[in-house]
């Protein structure tokens, strides 16, 4: 039967060709969805201007990307992991177990985290304390912890407009959530004096107090958004009382629908973030598998190109898209060129 012959031969062909694969030609990147747009912009420009193929950039989150990165060395593992946070020691250990012992850490710049609401709604001027008092699960009241009773922004701070509290914050799987907890909630907890009050109540247990500061209420006034910023935007469009947490670049691309709130009287811009005046920002990284440098064609060139002045500098396309460029870019460039390995390996 010709059908049988055809299928057997194609089956054989598929298996043979599958095993015959040799060195990969394109750079393979995985990781943070925050870094993804920047990596895609660089990959596109790299493909246009160099003879190497355009790198493939996967998304999926910092943790997932680093997990893939640490799976081992070889052409069917990724070369670069993007991360919106620094690599953890536990991840370095996992990497080392799987033979990924040499890692180059590259900081590409900073990402601002902004609070934005519907363009036609009230204007907000926040302080971290406002967010803590609005979103904490429990607040210290008269020497005891009590469930958060604030339901309106005026109750939190008389200067804020009369609007029910409805916050859309990133879900726990997002790297942004960690920054939000540490730089906004914990900071607000300290500034409002609640941290001392909690320490007085629980007898000085600092870890418990800090985790209490960062525990978000679950009565529906704060909603965890596990999807992307597009989902947060859709929710704000549906509920115009909502206030959402966004990346600066996302806000700048949707400034016709959103208005941004100030934090401690500072308007978030790339300038105010790079000077450090705007408090809520975080560094963005990518990690290179040093064993692949020289093996995968274009990897070194891609990394050099990523941190070059014309790409990651203050006038480059990344800054234009919303990345806050790193003032110490020159030392990063040196580190990439010299393949400076991460310490503690």
């Amino acid at each position: 039967m010709s059908l049988v012959k055809f299928t057997t031969s194609s089956l054989l062909l598929a298996t043979v060709s599958a095993t015959a694969a040799v060195a990969r030609e394109n750079v393979q990147v995985a990781g943070s969805s925050t870094v993804l747009p920047y990596a895609a912009i660089v990959a596109e420009a790299f493909g246009e201007n160099f003879d190497f193929p355009t790198p493939v950039v996967e998304s999926g989150g910092s943790s997932a990307g680093l997990k893939r990165f640490c799976e081992g060395v070889g052409e069917n593992t990724v070369d670069i992991a993007n991360a919106s946070r620094a690599i953890k020691n536990s991840e370095i250990a996992t990497c080392a177990e799987n033979g990924v012992t040499d890692i180059v850490e590259v900081r590409i710049g900073y990402d601002g985290i902004v609070f934005a609401s519907d363009i036609d709604g009230n204007t907000f001027e926040f302080t971290p304390a406002d967010w803590y008092l609005a979103l904490a699960a429990e607040l210290p009241v008269d020497g005891a912890m009590a469930a958060n009773a604030n339901t309106n922004w005026t109750a939190v701070n008389a200067k804020l407009p009369d609007q029910p509290i409805q916050a859309f914050i990133p879900g726990t799987k997002h790297g942004t959530r960690e920054v939000f907890e540490e730089k906004v909630l914990l900071q607000g907890c300290e500034e409002s004096g609640a941290l001392d009050a909690i320490l007085a109540i629980n007898g000085g247990d600092e870890d418990a107090a800090e985790s209490s500061c960062m525990t978000v209420r679950t009565d529906g006034l704060s909603v965890d958004v596990d999807g992307d910023y597009t989902e947060t935007l859709a929710r704000i469009e549906a509920d115009t009382n909502g206030i959402g947490v966004f990346g600066l670049s996302f806000y700048e691309n949707n400034s016709d629908k959103l208005q941004v709130a100030t934090m401690s009287d500072v308007v978030p811009t790339t300038e105010s973030i790079s000077t450090g005046d705007y408090p809520v920002s975080r560094p963005l990284y990518f990690y290179i598998k040093a064993a692949h440098l020289g093996e995968i064609p274009g990897l070194q060139e891609f990394a050099d190109f990523f941190v070059s002045d014309e790409i990651a500098g203050p006038d480059g396309p990344l800054a234009e898209y919303g990345l806050v460029s790193d003032p110490k870019l020159a030392s990063t460039q040196d580190a990439v060129a010299n393949r400076t390995l991460l310490d503690g390996m």
Partner: protein, 442 residues
């Protein structure tokens, strides 16, 4: 006791109740269909109204001077040496061209040169550079070429961007849109059908206007080929054995139950399996249509087996008996008589299985196909093997684009959904037509 009416012409209470119950049931049925139809209409109108714009694209005709001292300092017209001028070197040429054209057409504006330059897509620079590198003799002349406009300008001509929204938007301004409108009145800016949407690869977040489905359509095509070539013969062989040859015992019952169960397994599970077996153990390429096709094959196999077995079952036993009766062997009776008669049913099941596989995203997430891929995957290459080059798939492209910040990508995502729906409709219609054409009833 209800009284018994002797006449057939007068309906008694009981008959009336039964008739009323029947009318109610018909009404429920109509209601159910109505709700389904309404949901479909709402879905299609939202998708089509937001996605139809993706099939039209705005272009601006630029007359770009290509000075030799900028593009070919050596004067050799050697593309390798000219390639040293990057897209960053070409960008000012395009901006200067537009500014000069505005001056020639008598359009004055307060807009800064930088913002005028931003009306041209960033993709245009690469288009021009590639064009010049392919035709080095153009250096020193003036090139007239249609290039993409920036996404907001494009959105203005499609009604997505208005003067009001532009006033609030940091990426464009009402002044820029006014210039665009005047250029359009003069015929320099034109909106026309967007073939690029179906052929171009994905583009980064800064250029929604350039993004297309080319790589995704190729990736989906390759995966469907892999699924067809693997799942159809395997599925048909397995069903023929189970249906015609296998003894009916506990083992075959066990296999049958397992196949039915597999058909109901969430598709992401096949993705996990694919990552563990094909990539980590088998050493196949991540992001490759081959692995994607293998994973989707696993997912589609149960569907094909179940429908093939149903098709084989529906062939009357008298056909087999007649074949065996005139001296055919079991194999001959199956391959000469039963299989050809069951073929329409098998084809329908296969096409529906393929359509299901075409719309699947979840398993591809784990094998690295949810990615930004700009290089067209070749069906075969020396280094990557058959279907080994990185690709995405149609549903993945929808997923990717809905996550992007620029509102231009929302339009692209809806456009991709329309494309995917068209492909699915074609496949399902083909299934229906094949069944109509070849089906035999006994």
């Amino acid at each position: 006791m209800s009284k018994v009416t002797p006449s057939l012409l007068v309906r008694d209470d009981r008959t009336k109740r039964r008739n009323a119950a029947e009318r109610r049931f018909r009404f429920y049925g109509l209601g159910a269909i109505g709700i389904a139809a309404l949901a479909l209409v709402v879905l299609l109108t939202t998708v089509v109204s937001s996605g139809v714009g993706a099939f039209r694209q705005t272009y601006v005709t630029l007359e770009i001077a290509l000075p030799e001292d900028k593009l070919d300092k050596t004067g050799t017209r050697d593309p390798d040496l000219m390639a040293r001028v990057t897209t960053f070197g070409y960008a000012p040429l395009l901006r200067a061209a537009l500014i000069r054209q505005l001056a020639e057409l008598g359009i004055t504006t307060d807009l800064s040169d930088k913002h005028i330059g931003e009306m041209i897509s960033k993709e245009a620079v690469a288009t021009v550079r590639n064009h010049v590198l392919a035709n080095p003799e153009l250096v020193g002349t003036t090139l007239t070429i249609d290039v993409l406009t920036e996404g907001r300008v494009d959105g203005y001509f499609k009604g997505r961007v208005t003067m009001e929204s532009a006033a609030l938007d940091g990426n464009t301004s009402p002044e820029a849109l006014e210039i665009a409108q005047r250029l359009a009145d003069l015929g320099v800016i034109k909106t026309r059908f967007n073939w690029r949407f179906l052929t171009a690869p994905d583009a980064s977040d800064q250029r929604p206007e350039a993004a297309g489905l080319g790589v995704a359509i190729l990736g989906s095509l390759y995966m469907m080929l892999v699924v067809l070539v693997l799942a159809l013969p395997l599925g048909v062989a397995a069903s023929i054995y189970l249906e015609e040859f296998a003894p009916k015992n506990r083992l075959s019952d066990f296999i049958e139950v397992n196949i039915s169960n597999l058909a109901a397994v969430p598709s992401i599970v096949f993705g996990i399996l694919g990552l563990a077996i094909f990539i980590n153990f088998g050493g196949l390429r991540q992001s490759s249509p081959l692995v994607g096709g293998l994973v989707l094959t696993l997912m589609t196999l149960p569907t094909i087996i179940i429908s093939t077995r149903a098709a084989l079952k529906s062939v009357p036993p008298s056909i087999r008996d007649a074949a065996l009766g005139v001296g055919a062997s079991k194999v001959q009776s199956v391959f000469h008589h039963v299989l050809p008669l069951a073929a329409p049913g098998i084809l329908t099941g296969t096409i529906i299985g393929l359509a299901q596989a075409l719309g699947e995203t979840a398993p591809l997430l784990l094998i690295g196909m949810v990615a930004f891929v700009r290089e067209y995957p070749a069906p075969y290459s020396e280094t990557a093997g058959l279907f080994g080059e990185a690709a995405t798939a149609l549903p993945v492209q929808v997923f990717n684009w809905t996550q992007r910040a620029d509102p231009g990508f929302a339009e692209r995502a809806s456009g991709a959904i329309i494309t995917l729906l068209v492909f699915l409709a074609i496949m399902n219609i083909a299934a229906v037509l094949l069944r109509r054409r070849f089906e035999r009833r006994w």
